[in-house]
């Protein structure tokens, strides 16, 4: 239907935000493009601006600056009802006095669709959401997940909807139903091919739902990419520790005259190129616990703790020397772990140098 493009989008909740004051802004200059029909996630900690971004796209908020385009149409000034956007909220919103049928028909009737068409659309969507048996019931009597399905259904019935936005839709759903509703979403996305944008602070939800995840922090996009990219090639240390469990190891390092990263006196091979240019900035070595392993020689460490997490064990080690930094390893079941001391090496393909937080390419 339409790709969604955000151009230099800024938003502040203050009446007169100051340009040079980052704290005044909820969103600071966002440029993003979401292809038509994709499943996208906005991931970030509370207060990072992801809900603000969602409300800007749906039109509930007007951006302070910047433009929003659906396809080639500039919708920045349009009201939510005119935008071909549906939104599902954190808490299920149903119209209590209406039946499930009337709830689903509400957006269509508001837009003056002829009644036979309304009935046909509602029946179709109800069948998809497994709500057909409840169509005649009062919506107020349904369980939280049933209500959330109605909220979703009110978005799906509209044939003109360009994208469906989800604002942490599983927050109030029981854990065992969360999984079911999530698979339902995934299934609907595949069947209908509608663009879906899913806001969450839960990395599992984001990574399992989306083809592309946008990680946000402090009102800015830190990285946008596939789940695999975010995992294997974090562009920023924030992505490194926010995604993954446990998060990425970050170790202060140096780059020598030859442009080789050195940590604890040992030269470390990395995937980062042109390190010489990064000298003089705050440098860190980033490597995920999955890509650290014990070896005969390398960086000397003391093993401090081993925790069994099922198919893996998480090993905490302390690097010998001044810093005594913590390095975590993920060791598969059955592989040996040194009793007290050993050496670790990093997989060069997945080890990067970060300068002031950003990965050196």
């Amino acid at each position: 239907m339409a790709r969604i493009r955000l151009e230099a989008l800024c938003h502040s909740y203050l009446p007169r935000p100051r340009d040079d004051e980052a704290a005044d802004w909820a969103l600071r200059g966002l440029d993003l493009e979401w292809a038509d029909g994709g499943a996208f996630a906005l991931l970030g900690p509370s207060g990072c601006g992801k809900t603000t971004l969602l409300n800007l796209v749906s039109g509930l908020l007007q951006p302070t600056r910047g433009r929003i385009l659906f396809g080639d149409r500039d919708v920045t000034a349009l009201a939510p009802g005119e935008r071909n956007i549906a939104q599902v909220f954190q808490f299920p919103v149903v119209y209590d006095t209406m039946t499930v049928f009337d709830n689903l028909a509400f957006p269509l009737r508001n837009r003056g669709l002829p009644e036979p068409e309304v009935r046909q659309r509602v029946a179709e969507i109800a069948a998809m959401l497994d709500l057909t048996p409840q169509l005649g019931q009062r919506a107020a009597g349904l369980t939280a997940d049933g209500k959330q399905k109605i909220s979703l259904g009110r978005g799906l019935v509209r044939a003109d909807v360009a994208a469906i936005l989800f604002d942490e839709p599983l927050t109030v759903i029981d854990p065992h139903l969360k999984w079911r509703l999530r698979s339902k979403l995934k299934e609907l996305h595949q069947r209908l091919g509608r663009t879906m944008i899913y806001v969450t602070h839960d990395q599992t939800e984001a990574l399992t739902f989306a083809d592309q995840v946008v990680v946000m922090e402090g009102g800015q996009v830190v990285q946008a990419g596939t789940p695999v990219e975010l995992f294997e090639r974090p562009a920023h240390t924030f992505v490194g520790h926010f995604i993954g469990s446990p998060g990425m190891n970050l170790l202060p390092c140096e780059v020598d005259d030859a442009g080789v990263a050195r940590y604890a006196g040992v030269a470390v091979a990395t995937a980062s190129q042109g390190l010489a240019s990064a000298r003089g900035r705050r440098l860190e070595l980033g490597v995920r616990p999955e890509f650290v392993r014990f070896a005969a020689e390398g960086i000397a460490v003391d093993v401090t703790r081993v925790s069994d997490v099922g198919r893996h064990r998480i090993v905490d080690t302390r690097v010998r020397g001044d810093g005594a930094e913590l390095v975590k390893l993920l060791v598969a079941e059955g592989e040996p772990i040194p009793e007290r001391e050993g050496h670790v090496v990093f997989d060069p393909a997945y080890t990067r140098v970060y300068a002031d937080g950003w990965a050196v390419k």
């Binding site: 409300n55 009201a79 909220f89 209406m98 508001n110 009062r138």
Partner: protein, 288 residues
């Protein structure tokens, strides 16, 4: 088999409340019941009369007229105050200094003693010197609440609306501010009109506070006494003699204790019955 040991000490803890309720409600009520079945000619001598006073009250045209006036008055003030209160609450600002000003203005009539309200409107509506009465007469209306029943009724209703609409406003406002923002957001996305938002979100969410508002306003307006007595004293003639006013005339004016007691009980039962009716009708169809 029950393993609980009976502990009768708890009765002592209930005793203060039982005593309070007894002296406050039960004993006075029983005294009224007592009077309602007896005749007295003074000297503290009483004779049992059975249900004679009840029959007399029920058959008296005077009671029926007062009851009709009472029902009419309550119906009019409810029909004005509830919609008006909701409309004002909807129009009130949601935040800022405007809200504080509105809330203070709304609370003001509720803080004025009843007899002062009556006196204020008594003067306000005087045709020769009162602001409202004078202006109405200068505009060409023939308005005199001490002589014309219609003028008296208009003044009475206007006074009650002025005095009590803010109660409905405050209750409705509290109900409105309890509606989560997401409902309005969802409605905007669903393309709902302002009327649809009111009809399908605000009104259903206000239902419970409105039930309270209707019950309170019904009971209070059905028992109105002080303001009406100060304003019109039941006149002109008997045009504004509502139930309470009539009751006081019988009990303290004529000193007919028996009929007054019987009338009190009938009055009480009517209020009880109508309150129950309102409650049942308004909560009908809700899941338990």
């Amino acid at each position: 088999m029950s393993t609980r040991t009976p502990n009768q000490k708890a009765w002592w803890l209930v005793l203060p409340v039982v005593l309070l309720v007894a002296f406050n409600a039960v004993i006075p009520l029983m005294a009224v019941v007592n009077y309602s079945v007896q005749e007295t000619f003074g000297n503290n001598q009483f004779f049992f009369e059975g249900v004679r006073w009840f029959e007399q009250v029920m058959q008296s045209p005077r009671f029926r007229e007062a009851l009709t006036r009472q029902i009419l008055f309550t119906a009019i003030v409810l029909a004005i105050q509830v919609p008006l209160g909701v409309a004002i609450a909807l129009a009130m600002p949601r935040k800022g200094i405007g809200l504080s000003i509105c809330l203070v203005l709304m609370a003001m009539p509720l803080l004025i003693p009843y007899n002062v309200v009556g006196a204020m409107w008594n003067i306000f509506a005087l045709p020769d010197i009162g602001l409202m009465g004078k202006v109405l007469n200068d505009l060409g209306f023939n308005f005199n609440y001490t002589r014309q029943p219609v003028s008296a009724w208009i003044t009475l209703v206007a006074m009650d609306v002025w005095h009590w609409t803010s109660l409905v406003v405050l209750l409705a406002y509290a109900g409105l501010s309890a509606i989560p923002e997401a409902y309005y957001q969802a409605a905007r996305i669903d393309g709902a009109s302002a009327w649809a938002i009111f009809r399908h979100i605000q009104l259903p969410k206000l239902k419970h506070v409105l039930l309270i508002a209707v019950l309170l306003r019904f009971m209070d307006s059905f028992m109105i006494y002080t303001e009406a007595v100060v304003l019109t004293g039941g006149g002109p003639g008997n045009a504004t003699t509502l139930l309470s006013i009539d009751l006081v005339k019988i009990a303290l004016g004529q000193f007919d204790l028996g009929p007054a007691a019987a009338m009190s009980l009938i009055y009480f039962l009517i209020i009880l019955l109508l309150s129950w009716l309102f409650y049942t009708v308004m909560t009908r169809g809700e899941e338990r």
